[in-house]
């Protein structure tokens, strides 16, 4: 009992790391986070002045120290306040944690980075890390609290989960690890907590094809997303795809529409970021927390709001 009280008293607080996609492409995800976390007792800090993580095609492709320096500035924003960062984008999660791992593993990189940071009066000691929203919800908030907080449940709804690559690999660099990085459970558990069926499907861990592949060769990128979608359709005929990555969200949402127009697929499965789905279940305004999409979501949202009232 005593330990529980102590746990209660320790207020959860994270720096909300937005990244580019969520800031500009999918601000409804940002809005969803701004709604759900305070309601779940998690304080969020804006980390004013944060920048791009940096994403893979930028500094990581130029130079490791440069990559780490940009990442370290972002991480330092949290470290200064004694909090960890939290992101809803797998790319940011990957880039920040890989950079941190490199700095911790190699003191030479760390010291070069700090030489650069010193020029703007900052330093990074490796303490602050970047957490993933899915892990914060799963581990820090907890499934019980999520279950208690929802107004609508997903009874009878089958979701296909898409945790995304940077949620899993390389497991070495991440602060939280799936017990089996080839059979991830966290997102499935999170969806089940909302009352949904979240079955395994064969290509659950396959890449959606987003990222550099998409910008380099969209056609090839669509091969992957199509394989994935078809597997979802055939094996579990999901009502909804749920992801915890902003890149996967954009790819699955956008590409589906394109594939349908080209006649390559003949179905449509709405796609939501998990924080959006949770926000809807918690009763927040769908227009605000899930208002931006290409593949229509209205129907599934309606089904949730009408069918799943608790």
């Amino acid at each position: 009992m005593i330990s529980e009280t102590v746990k209660e008293e320790k207020k959860l607080k994270f720096g909300l790391f937005l990244g580019c996609n969520i800031s500009f492409n999918r601000p409804d995800v940002e809005q969803a986070m701004r709604k759900i976390f305070p309601a779940l007792g998690v304080e969020i800090d804006d980390l004013v002045g944060q920048s791009c993580c940096p994403t893979w095609g930028t500094m990581p492709s130029i130079d490791i120290v440069g990559w780490c320096a940009v990442a370290a500035r972002n991480l330092a924003l949290g470290e200064e306040k004694g909090i960890d960062l939290m992101t809803a984008c797998n790319s940011c999660y990957g880039s920040l944690n890989e950079a941190r791992h490199k700095m911790l593993k190699n003191p030479e990189i760390m010291s070069k980075v700090n030489e650069i940071l010193a020029k703007i009066g900052k330093k990074y000691e490796g303490r602050a890390k970047c957490r993933h929203v899915a892990w914060v919800l799963y581990k820090d908030v907890g499934l019980e609290k999520i279950k208690e907080s929802i107004k609508y449940s997903l009874d009878g709804i089958t979701v296909a989960v898409q945790p995304g690559c940077h949620f899993l690999w390389p497991s070495e660099v991440y602060p939280d690890k799936e017990e089996d990085p080839f059979n991830p459970k966290v997102l499935r558990e999170l969806c089940k907590a909302l009352g949904a069926e979240a079955p395994y499907y064969t290509k659950l861990i396959d890449c959606c094809g987003m990222g550099a592949l998409r910008s380099t060769d969209p056609e090839k990128s669509f091969i992957l997303v199509r394989e994935k979608l078809e597997c979802i359709k055939e094996e579990i005929d999901a009502d909804l795809i749920v992801t915890t990555c902003s890149s996967c969200l954009i790819q699955l949402d956008d590409a589906q529409e394109k594939l349908r127009k080209e006649g390559k697929i003949n179905f449509s499965i709405p796609v939501l970021h998990y924080v959006q789905l949770l926000a809807i279940c918690m009763g927040f305004d769908p227009q605000q927390v899930a208002g931006i999409c290409v593949t229509p979501r209205d129907e599934i949202i309606k089904r949730v709001l009408e069918g799943g009232k608790r």
């Binding site: 089996d180 990085p181 080839f182 059979n183 395994y200 499907y201 064969t202 290509k203 861990i205 094996e235």
Partner: protein
């Protein structure tokens, strides 16, 4: 004044290729007390040794320094040469200018030459202080303990027993047989494993010179070569083996609740808490696994039985059904079993291997029942396996077992288990892998081919894929075996599998790579067989520690010398063979077992043995009886004797092994470790510290 001869070996090009011999000679000639310096192509060869002997015989030299390879292998050879020529063999010292000089500094020839000079100078400095010593002899006990009752242990025991030596064969399982007993057939001849192994098991068990100690483990080992004192724990069997006839009646009545995965079937089926390891077990006796037993009668050993209303005792099903009373629970049993003590002259370690569990390999969907290890596959196709050799997908084994139960009860039932159509083998799972074991497990290529061949010959319609990184088939008749597989239509793919994903119907999506096509490939398979690495048994390290032998970086027992002493260990009198030494196949294990047995024989046959006198000695004049040394000795070799009314330390020569801990600690420097005296080691150190300048004595 000592007359030192220095003999420098070229070792062909091995030394001369990096060390400038002429330059070294000029340097060495000037060293104090050096009277002769010679060099030769191979100093250890017969003519090379003759050079040394000649100088000794002529009286030119009375101390010998050989600068060559490592004293660990060659010191005995040169000592012998000195002795043969009439010089006390402890007037010999070696400078290691090959292993620790030319080889390591091959590309820095000038510096290697300088270093060689210093090493030789150090050896000369020590040589000036050498003292003549006399060898000792110890009596040897002619009994041998063989640890491990697999194919290697069985052969070692048989060879020794046939030669008239008494052998204690210690095996931790209830039966001997080891891993080979689990195999279906054996490559490259496809002999039935049981057919060739079982007769040997019986032979060794019945041999008058062999005492079989199964379900037993080595607890502690003391003593040295010729006189090891071993404590063996006979584990508690909970069944009276004197009375047990191995009829198996008890096994059948053990309740379903007390069932646990069957080790013999690699977890593919269940066994009861009371079990006989396998049908061909030797000895064929039942044991009770106390962790699995649920005491279904409500009574543990030595407890009063509960009684029915009419006062009849309630007995456990096993004790009730036992025709001989072997399973009786009337008497209490000590869970620690019994400790017995053995006196042996030599020990052979043949503890074998285990295969890695599939659970480590997350990328290969280990959760799926249809992903199995190769040893599980062996059980699946074996006639003594969980399905009596009937090939079905492992996920349907429970269905098979249900069906079998019904049929046994005389019910009519149809077996609805799925037969596989596609089987995929994955090589190098956990072998050649930095995350697990960097070594090659050696037998996987061949046993995958074997299993594929057995399957394909029996079920020609099966599609079999074997993913190899590369096919390794060195060995007699092995590559021919491989070609037979190809001709049978088994699909060999060069490239590793990177992922296995479960399909909803318990089939598996296999993602591999075909190096020949230069493309990723994928297929749907009913069974995926992982050739998981062979690794040392978990308790091998413990055992090695008890025995005082070395374990290599990869965890297998380390041989004294890879090439020259492959079954010897650094501890005299202890030999190793089989997979405890490293992964190997049956022919190699047997060959090594016979080598180990013959090594033990040639050691023990003379009945006594020469021991180097490189041990400690106390100078009673200098000893002040402080008593510091006695508790330090790991062998309890330091005793006290009365000298002029005072207690003085004395080393028991039979017990001392020459570590020198006492000499290093003695406050009055009364203890000398012969061969490594304070003055000798110090002379070496000073000489090197002064870059080759020897201090005048």
């Amino acid at each position: 004044m000592p007359k030192i001869g220095v003999y420098i070996c070229h070792c062909g090009e091995n030394i001369a290729g990096a060390v400038n011999i002429e330059e070294v000679k000029k340097f060495v000639e000037k060293l104090p007390d050096v009277v002769v310096v010679r060099d030769y192509l191979f100093m250890c060869s017969d003519p090379g040794q003759e050079i040394i002997k000649e100088d000794i015989r002529k009286g030119l030299v009375d101390r010998v320094v050989v600068a060559a390879c490592t004293p660990r292998t060659h010191e005995p050879i040169f000592r012998k040469a000195c002795e043969d020529a009439g010089l006390n063999k402890y007037y010999f010292e070696m400078a290691n200018i090959r292993d620790q000089c030319s080889w390591a500094h091959w590309h820095e020839k000038e510096k290697a030459t300088q270093k060689a000079k210093q090493l030789i100078a150090a050896a000369v400095a020590k040589a000036r202080l050498l003292e003549p010593l006399e060898d000792r002899y110890v009596e040897l006990n002619k009994n041998v303990m063989v640890v491990g009752g697999g194919i290697a242990g069985i052969f070692a025991a048989l060879d020794l027993a046939n030669a008239g030596f008494k052998v204690y064969l210690v095996e931790k399982s209830p039966s001997i047989g080891g891993n080979m007993a689990k195999l279906d057939k054996t490559f490259p001849t496809n002999d039935c494993s049981a057919c060739i192994l079982t007769p040997l098991m019986v032979e060794v068990a019945n041999h008058p010179n062999v005492e079989l100690l199964t379900y037993s483990e080595v607890e502690a080992v003391e003593g040295t070569v010729g006189n090891f004192r071993v404590k063996v724990r006979k584990k508690q069997t909970y069944v009276d083996w004197e009375k047990c006839t191995g009829c198996g009646a008890c096994v059948n009545v053990c309740p379903p609740k007390a069932r646990v995965p069957d080790e013999f079937n690699e977890g593919l089926s269940l066994r009861g808490a009371i079990y006989i390891q396998f049908p061909q077990a030797v000895p064929k006796k039942a044991v009770i696994d106390p962790d699995a037993c649920i005491s279904c009668s409500g009574r543990w050993f030595g407890e009063e039985p509960r009684r029915t209303k009419d006062g009849k005792p309630i007995l456990a099903p096993c004790e009730k059904v036992c025709p001989t009373g072997a399973c009786s629970r009337d008497e209490p049993r000590d869970p620690n079993g019994e400790i017995i003590e053995l006196n042996v002259g030599s020990i052979i370690v043949a503890t074998g291997y285990r295969v890695m569990d599939k659970k480590y390999f997350k990328e290969f969907a280990p959760d799926s029942p249809n992903v199995i290890t190769a040893l599980q596959m062996e059980r699946l196709i074996s006639a003594t396996g969980p399905t009596e050799g009937k090939l079905i997908v492992p996920s349907d084994i429970p269905k098979y077992l249900d069906w079998k139960k019904k049929v046994e009860k005389g019910k009519e039932a149809k077996l609805e288990a799925r037969k596989p159509h596609v089987i995929t083998f994955v090589s190098c799972v956990g072998s050649r892998d930095e995350r697990y074991h960097t070594y090659c497990s050696k037998v996987c290529c061949m046993y995958m081919l074997k299993q594929a061949m057995l399957l394909k010959e029996k079920y020609p319609d099966l599609d079999i894929y074997i993913f190899f990184i590369d096919v390794r088939t060195p060995g007699k008749d092995f590559d021919e075996y491989y070609m037979r597989c190809r001709k049978l239509g088994i699909k060999i793919i060069k490239g590793k599998v990177g992922g296995v994903q479960r399909l909803p119907d318990e089939r598996l999506l296999v993602r591999g790579y075909d190096a020949d096509l230069g493309k990723p490939v994928e297929l749907i398979s009913d069974i995926v067989v992982l050739a998981t690495a062979i690794e040392p048994n978990t308790d091998l390290k413990d055992l090695a520690r008890k025995l005082g032998i070395n374990v290599g970086a990869e965890g297998f027992l380390r041989e004294r010398h890879t090439k020259l002493y492959p079954v010897d260990t650094m501890t005299e009198g202890i030999f190793i063979c089989g997979c405890a030494q490293g992964p190997k196949d049956i022919p190699d294990s047997v060959a090594q077992a016979k080598a180990a047995a013959s090594s033990a024989m040639s050691l023990l046959a003379p009945g006594k043995m020469r021991v180097e006198p490189l041990i400690s000695e106390v100078n009673p004049e200098k000893c002040t009886g402080c008593g510091i040394c006695a508790p330090l000795c790991p062998y309890g070799a330091i005793e006290y004797v009365e000298v002029d009314g005072k207690r003085r330390a004395k080393v028991n020569e039979a017990k001392c092994k020459g570590c020198g801990v006492c000499a290093a600690a003695c406050p009055s420097k009364a203890i000398t470790l012969h061969g490594f005296t304070y003055e000798q080691v110090l002379a070496q150190i000073k000489t090197i510290a002064r870059k080759g300048i020897i201090e005048e004595v």
